[in-house]
Symmetry: C2
Subunit: 428 residues, 2 copies
């Protein structure tokens, strides 16, 4: 049995490694079009910032490691041109053909520069691969730019803005939508704007950047228009979902039996809405990769779905979300109630800092639908508690009684999460 | 309608404040035997350490505030001698009688010095009230002791040891049991021992201290033999549970209708075992106080129970637990499996530090039974995720797919919680 995996970053390598555990005799080949594998793509902004010194620090495993320790062949610089499923073959760009019994597509996503004129100029960068980060880092050191423009205020955009500002550049972030972080949440956007503003980064929402040359900047980072790489799948006849990403069942198998997909190129089921969603994140890539790999190797595992939990640090403050915002819940046809409270991360006498908690629940049932946590201390842990509650479809009356840890160095006796739940319960 | 609340710290004041919200016309009187009300008792060690400068910083609300803002009468220095329920009266120590329609007992717990000879000496302290902390603080400053002994390695004991050590004293902690932190968990005890040892505090387990004079110390803190104050309730004919604390139903009503109890003097239902447990903690005191107050004022609210979540900081490292340890689960007649892994709090390239996660699950069903988290970064948030999972009776296969937040400044892509769940799942 031969397993071929297309893509050698998070999802692809998770799939390969897990398939190996399930079946020690499987012949496993990973094909990666770029020069690097297994790197923490989410660490790229910290390479720009200079906190991470060398690109190699972001590499988790080498091709050599996979070959020696896992008996997995990893070929970098190897682009797949087509999938011929009738013959169970992938056709490589150089003309070579590779047979498979099972195929995992982990083709990822890309930052499209579609429609932006002048994107090919040397001072314009994307920040998606190690190679991108190496080039941008070199440009920073060699050319000493003074004025940066970041196109897109998603996670990557604000992280890039933070990193460039810390390098001393003047930074402006342009976002087409009225909201940042891909979330329809005016209060969250206002909080991000305030934090950026405090640290000297300008945020311009509702601005469509058509041309790089219109920007007053000697460095431009394009961090907008993220799209799943589905061309290979689509040309092979695999069904693409309404979100534009590859559709799979909960075993991560595509519409063609024997071909699985995982990671940023696939859609997943949203735990709260029960509908397909495309929320490309590293955690989901690793989880769906594992499951695709396991099932491709003969196991039967299913993916539970995503809550859309994410977090970003902007100049030391965390902005974390999970599930649906109030506006998103309404757009999904639900009848939400929401509350936003400001508590403290710990008791005042133990250096507690302000912590904002937003909770969204269904009016009729009190079921939690989502939340947001903003603060400099403990936001990750708190958003994860909400995420766990979403996974078990918890109601507010259950959530408000959670037995959360209390001790002055860590939390106040009434955690902001519980205060928010108490207040929101009154509204249901 | 008159509500009388016996006890003016966490549970008692939560009850009074909540009753007022439910019924604006209720006549509410809080009787507190000590001189202070509404203080954060868990902050006392930080007063000893010197991090909290003045005892007043620990006071959340004053009697004056309750009188003016909540129309609640608070009488300090007022000891209740007896409850005469047939006449609906409490008898005060001075002879005065006070009528009630509803009564809330929030009599708390105490550190018994029973059986320890020499406990009345001036260099021997407990650390339970603001007054205790004031006296101990004054003794430290006036007498400059060099050598401290702490009796008891529960939460308060290790916090006191940490605080005294930071004041420059040589500190030895004596514990009667083989385990610390009131948890039958050898690995947790070993980790605490190592942390204490690293910071120059000696831990002696399995040592029964019969006499203060046997200790080579010029300062002794007694932090053992915690007991619920149930005498008042027992003499009034209220049923005491098997744990030795006051038994209530899930509305916090005692065996006598119209008399409620809350906080450290009461037992609660354990979420995992479904059995009564006595786990006196500030969070539970506040929660049960709220519910007792609400129901005493005519509402119908129920308490879900406790998971026994707690956390303690020892020289900057957090030791957090929830639910049952493997040994405790076995003692409860369950058939547990457990795993202990060491992960990192964040990616290595982003200053991640070691984080130990222990998970315990039921072998047959995979249901989570408990866990522990040890580390210097993010332990509170992680134990709370386990606590939330226990509240919804989550299984390992659900837990391992939790959509937890990932970003390098906050967490690794595979959170230690998920790694532990993956590993433990193999054993079920």
């Amino acid at each position: 049995m031969a397993l071929v995996v297309v893509g050698g970053v998070a999802a692809g390598l998770s799939a390969a490694a897990r398939a190996r555990r399930i079946d020690p005799h499987l012949e496993i080949t990973v094909l990666e079009k770029g020069p690097d594998i297994s790197y923490g793509a989410c660490g790229l902004p910290y390479l720009i910032e200079g906190r991470v010194r060398r690109p190699e620090e972001l590499v988790v495993y080498t091709a050599e490691y996979f070959r020696k320790e896992r008996n997995i062949t990893v070929r970098t610089g190897t682009r797949v041109a087509a999938v011929a499923h009738a013959r169970r073959e992938v056709l490589l760009a150089g003309g070579e053909r590779l047979r498979y019994d099972r195929l995992v597509l982990a083709t990822g996503a890309r930052c499209t520069t579609l429609g932006i004129a002048g994107a090919a100029q040397p001072h314009v960068f994307t920040l998606h691969t190690l190679e991108d980060a190496r080039r941008l880092r070199a440009f920073l050191l060699d050319r000493r730019p003074r004025r940066a423009a970041v196109v897109g205020a998603g996670y990557l955009g604000v992280e890039a803005a933070d990193a460039l500002r810390r390098q001393g550049l003047r930074v402006t972030v342009y976002e087409r939508a009225q909201n940042v972080l891909l979330r329809e949440d005016a209060a969250l956007t206002a909080a991000v704007r305030k934090q950026l503003d405090t640290h000297g980064v300008e945020l311009c929402c509702g601005v469509n950047v058509d041309s790089v040359d219109a920007l007053d900047a000697d460095l431009v980072v394009l961090a907008a228009g993220f799209q799943p790489n589905v061309e290979l799948a689509a040309e092979a006849g695999i069904e693409i979902g309404r979100t534009g990403a590859i559709r799979t069942d909960d075993r991560m198998e595509t519409s063609i039996r024997g071909i699985f997909a995982a990671g940023d190129c696939t859609e997943t089921q949203h735990l709260v809405t029960g509908r397909p969603a495309w929320i490309p994140l590293g955690t989901t890539a690793n989880k769906t990769g594992r499951i695709a790999g396991a099932n491709a190797a003969g196991a039967r595992e299913r993916f539970a779905g995503v809550a859309g939990t994410s977090i970003v640090g902007i100049f030391g403050m965390a902005f974390a979300v999970t599930g649906l915002s109030e506006a998103q819940a309404r757009a999904e046809g639900l009848s939400p109630v929401a509350v936003r409270i400001e508590g403290r991360s710990r008791p005042r006498y133990y250096s507690g800092v302000p912590t904002t908690v937003e909770l969204v629940a269904e009016r009729s049932t009190g079921r939690l639908l989502g939340g947001a946590v903003i603060g400099e201390d403990g936001a990750a842990g708190r958003i994860n508690v909400i995420a766990a509650a979403l996974a078990s479809r918890m109601r507010l009356d259950e959530f408000e009684q959670l037995d959360l840890a209390y001790s002055p160095p860590f939390a106040p006796v009434w955690d902001p999460l519980l205060i928010a739940a108490q207040q929101l319960k009154k509204a249901t």
